[in-house]
Symmetry: C2
Subunit: 205 residues, 2 copies
């Protein structure tokens, strides 16, 4: 029997709330970064929202490639590609969606430091207690023993596709797969969405 | 008297709907890009949402710096910084939020082509009829004579700050500025939001 993670589906209200909280904490610390570096892919949306709130116009992307499988708490991170712009002598805030193992943000801040940034801080929407890396700012903490797979509104289809395929392998039906996701993962996805990601090769009997 | 643009405030439902439409049109054309290139800053959120729907994991950022002022239909674009990753021999979809003059997407597709991409198409959430450049895919068209300044959920605070400051210059009060924005721009922003962006140096008498 496949292992299904507990999921928490989040929405755009959460994303706005997280960005508000991060911006508020950056301001409360008396800080104002010159450049926001967003980790690809998870950091793009939060970085854009935090930049909008702080009035930071300089956004740079940094690719951190996860070598892992969706919906597992483990997975190694490696920086496979560079920055979309220079950060030398810049006061930088590095943003990602979630710390999880913390490896991505740890590598990213190190990379940005080595690229000559004058100051590097970091932020994540969600910080998981078991992370080896604690970001300078985070909007919300998930306790170590309360780990869930967070389904972000910018990653919903990818997560659903992965999980629905695994559920279908067990249930051999789209409706049953949707029920399994709801009951075992706590992931509320409509039958239409589940059917869409399963595709024609996995029919509902 | 300052010139105030007609605004259309959009939300996350719009963003999801635009991404659905673009992904659906890309699929309907029988296409599947290997890499999605997002224009900084406006393209990041739409690119992330389109990538999620298409299952494209390779996201690359391209900085296009606008030399213009918020809330004007004109403004020149120039590519000031490069790509966050290589696109050589890649089938690429370049994504931005809105075409407006079209200069950003025109420059970006040219830049990606010159960087060695094997095929380059483009997408925008909104396409304005007066744009010199027509993207391969767009979710919605705004007629040439129906131009509005589109306030995206990822640019709300920046737009509001710019517009509220101009409104305050005329009204000398936050409540009156909020009213002006509502009546002359069609921009519904709460007094709390307007007060927040005006800051302590612009009190409400």
């Amino acid at each position: 029997m496949a292992d299904f993670p507990k999921c928490r589906r989040t929405g755009w209200d959460d994303a706005d709330r997280w960005a508000d909280a991060i911006a508020q904490r950056v301001r409360a610390a008396g800080r104002m970064p010159q450049t926001i570096v967003a980790l690809t892919r998870g950091g793009w949306v939060p970085a854009r929202l935090v930049a909008d709130r702080l009035g930071v116009r300089r956004l740079v992307s940094l690719r951190a490639q996860h070598w892992g499988i969706t919906a597992t708490p483990s997975g190694k991170a490696e920086l496979t590609e560079g920055l979309s712009g220079p950060v030398r002598d810049q006061d930088v805030l590095v943003v990602d969606d979630i710390t999880d193992t913390g490896e991505s943000l740890a590598l990213a801040t190190q990379h940005v430091t080595e690229a000559g940034a004058s100051r590097v801080e970091s932020a994540a929407c969600l910080h998981i207690g078991h992370s080896k890396f604690v970001p300078t700012y985070f909007a919300e903490e998930i306790a170590r023993d309360a780990w869930v797979w967070v389904v972000f509104p910018w990653n919903y289809w990818e997560d659903l596709k992965e999980l629905a395929a695994r559920a279908y392998d067990e249930t051999h039906g789209a409706s049953a797969a949707a029920n399994l996701l709801r009951e075992r993962c706590g992931l509320d996805a409509s039958l239409a969405d589940v059917t869409a990601v399963l595709g024609a090769e996995r029919p509902n009997p």
